[in-house]
Amino acid sequence: MEFINPDVVDLSRFQFALTALYHFMFVPLTLGLTFMLAAMETVYVVTGRQIYKDMTQFWGKLFGINFAIGVATGITMEFEFGTNWSMYSHFFGDMFGTPLAIEGLMAFFMESTFVGLMFFGWDRLSKQAHLAVTYLVALGSNLSALWILIANAGMNMPEGAHFDPETMRMQFESFVDLVFNPDAQAKFVHTSVAGYVSAAMFVMGISAFYLLRGQHRQFAARSFRMAALFGIISTVAVITLGDVLGRLDYEKQPTKIAAIEGLWHTSNPPFEPWIVAALPDDARQENHYEIGVPLVLTPLITHTFDQPITGMHELEDEAGPRIRSGIDAVAALRRYGVTHSSTDLAQFTAHEQDMGYGLLATRHAPGQDVTAIPADQIDDVVKATQPDILPNVFVTFWSFRLMVFLSLWFFALFAISAYLSLKRRLERSRLLLKLCMWSIPLPILATEFGWITAEAGRQPWTVFGWLPTFLSASSHGVSYMVFSLVGFVLLYSVFIAAELYLMFKFARLGPDHDSMEPHTPAAPRVSAFDMRPMAS
């Protein structure tokens, strides 16, 4: 009997991708704005100038709108692991559940508690105490991201765990290895600082809007200056950490790096070009219309001039023996589950590291059972499974490039903005101000492309090298998946519409009071019910 329904797997993947991408429209602003608020409030506490308090309160209000909706969209995702990915949760729950629980108990409770104090504590706390609260909110929101990314890194580079043939799942081995996983470190800093870039562009873009309209000029000039400096350093950090992640992928996830670079054949160092643009053809396993820059790829990925990067065809060839060995591992494990004999355990242990590759062959095995493959068909099954080790090259290749091109745009925009702000020539550069304003959504888009690169590039695995994605989903019906998908789309569309409406409304209104603007007394209101004669 066949137990894998590819439609359910695809719908589960689509639903998770959609909810994750929705959720991540809100997350970067939360991560970055909290530290921007902390920076503004720090200047307020140091200088005592009212304008910095106004800035903290105004940008804090926009942060509050984003925070509330971001939390609402995040909660559903935690439930999805149980409802739609129950096989994955069984297999990897120990490793994945621990950081998720810590995130909820430590980081989320911390930020949620202090966010209330931050909003309502202005008149109840001393300046210094309120500043400490703002820093704790910033720390809490970023620690929240840290634990989520530690969990994600465990899926990409499972460290601190081992497979237990008794329980048929990955067992937690080392908390230190989990937390200090190199992928977790680099991914956390990359993601957190990408949030700083998003927040800086958000503040800079809205400030540019005020400057273009000649409103709240002093308020906008200070917000713009702080955001431009915040943004330029953050962009450099994001690019640096992106390079670190690329290097880690080169060492640990060669299929991902080969797909990112559209590299079908092993590179020829040092001349191999870095492909700027191409149309990767997954079906024919080649690129069309390549435009490349020679001598760039090898130092970019390997940080040397002589190390080759293995291409996708060669990775497929290398996977052949692992798939064969993995089939032996799955067969030995199946026998061990019945006999519990030391011989079967020894056979399994000998092939354990390739077990995931054996599971990958399930789709091509007769009756989706790798233990039932006749000896004369093993070669055919292995051959059919080899291309499955590759992710979707077109998606991975282009999502990566769009992210990179956008980050280079941010670098240029922040650098010019910071320079003109320091020279006090902002208002003469109306084109730049317009570009800043229209660039507000781009960092959010870049982070979305980053996630698509990371997650599409990890395929076909949920736990890299151990558990294929098609074996991770729950056994729902297609109608259930379609119904819940439509529900999510409708609900989240309402959230986005609400966020955009409130953001536009409050951004257009500007700060409640602007301590640096010349005060013009409002014209006296005349009520229709005021019966006193005007002339008197």
Binding site: M40, T47, F180, R222, L229, I233, R424
Partner: protein
């Protein structure tokens, strides 16, 4: 007495920071870089704002 307590508090912060730097700098260099980098970004952006205050007070041209 208050000054002494404040000094002692700062000394504790210093020791904790050094221990943090030694341990995390070794085990988790990018976590350490994040802490240092975030503090640096905050300080530089804050300094930029204070610099603008100084520029505004020195010049009466009203340019931004």
């Amino acid at each position: 007495m208050t000054k002494l307590l404040r000094l002692a508090g700062l000394a504790v912060v210093l020791v904790v920071s050094l221990l943090f730097a030694v341990f995390v700098g070794d085990q988790g260099p990018w976590y350490f870089a994040w802490v240092i980098g975030t503090v640096m970004i905050i300080l530089i952006s804050g300094a930029g704002a204070i610099m603008l205050d100084a520029q505004s007070s020195l010049s009466a041209d009203g340019d931004i």
